[in-house]
């Protein structure tokens, strides 16, 4: 089955660890890191990158606009 594939890049130092992206991701890609950034926040990262479809949900709700989203133009076949 063909599947949309995407990826996000989080500006780790500007992330405030609010977790809003985590709860809106339909495929549970994102987690907050155990470690903290320079400001002391547990920043968001892709824990399950293969599950990202590039839907942009996380970026739409990120108050600090620190998420950039990429999506492949063609879905890839799963195997």
């Amino acid at each position: 089955m063909a599947k949309a594939r995407g990826a996000i890049v989080v500006d780790k130092e500007k992330c405030k660890g609010c977790e809003l992206c985590v709860v809106v991701c339909p495929t549970n890609v994102i987690r907050l890191a155990q470690e903290v950034n320079g400001k002391g926040y547990h920043f968001a990262y892709m824990e399950i990158p293969v599950a990202c479809t590039g839907c942009t949900n996380c970026a739409l709700v990120c108050p600090d606009s620190v998420i950039t989203v990429y999506r492949l133009k063609q879905p890839v076949s799963e195997n």
Partner: protein, 258 residues
Amino acid sequence: MNIEDIIKPENLVFKKTGLLTEKPLSYCPGCGHGVAHRLVMEVIEEMGIEEKTIGIAPVGCSVLAYEFMNIDMQQAAHGRAPAVATGVKRVLPDHFVFTYQGDGDLAAIGTAETIHACNRGENITIIFINNGIYGMTGGQMAPTTLPGMRSSTSPYGRDVASMGHPLKMTELVAHLPGTCYVARHAVHTPANVTKTKKSIRKAFEYQRDKKGLSFVEIVSNCNSGWKMTPVDSNQWMEENMFPFYPLGVIKDIDAKTK
């Protein structure tokens, strides 16, 4: 498939608008002000009006909005943004002018300025962030605080008998003949973000077409003032704020009547 094969310029589908500066926002983690800022800037960028738009910043947590919005801005005294916007617009009628105001700013100290600008039908746009509280000064009760809602000055909850009823500014200004477009939205879910952006776009288009004052309320969280996590505050907002402040377009003078 490697991540590096996906993260390429040709696959880019979302990035922060260049009309937001690189300065980290001064807002608390999870605060809705950030998304609201971004949507206004995205609309201005998409309409290509950044060179002729002037924003009026309020007093409140968003007092520094001019640091984050990469367009011409003027900061106004507490509550006076609609009056300042009126002056700017009348001097520069070919420019787009908007105010960005919290509920303490717009619905308490600035009530008169808000109502009269709306009633005069000034050709400006008001973006109203309603978090039901005075965020900046430590979570005091605002005119918008819900009945029973706790704040630092209503620690046992707002008692309507002694503290009065919450003020629905948006419904109020919708009744005034000077307003052309009045809507209430939220920015905590992707679907709401999309709807809010559409309304902000419409508000600026109506200003372009000189239809009168356009007014978009965004019901938002103040997780610090409400003393909740960002995720919990958004859920509390859905359960408590939305029943009292229902979302949707309240007035649209151009709406097609069936």
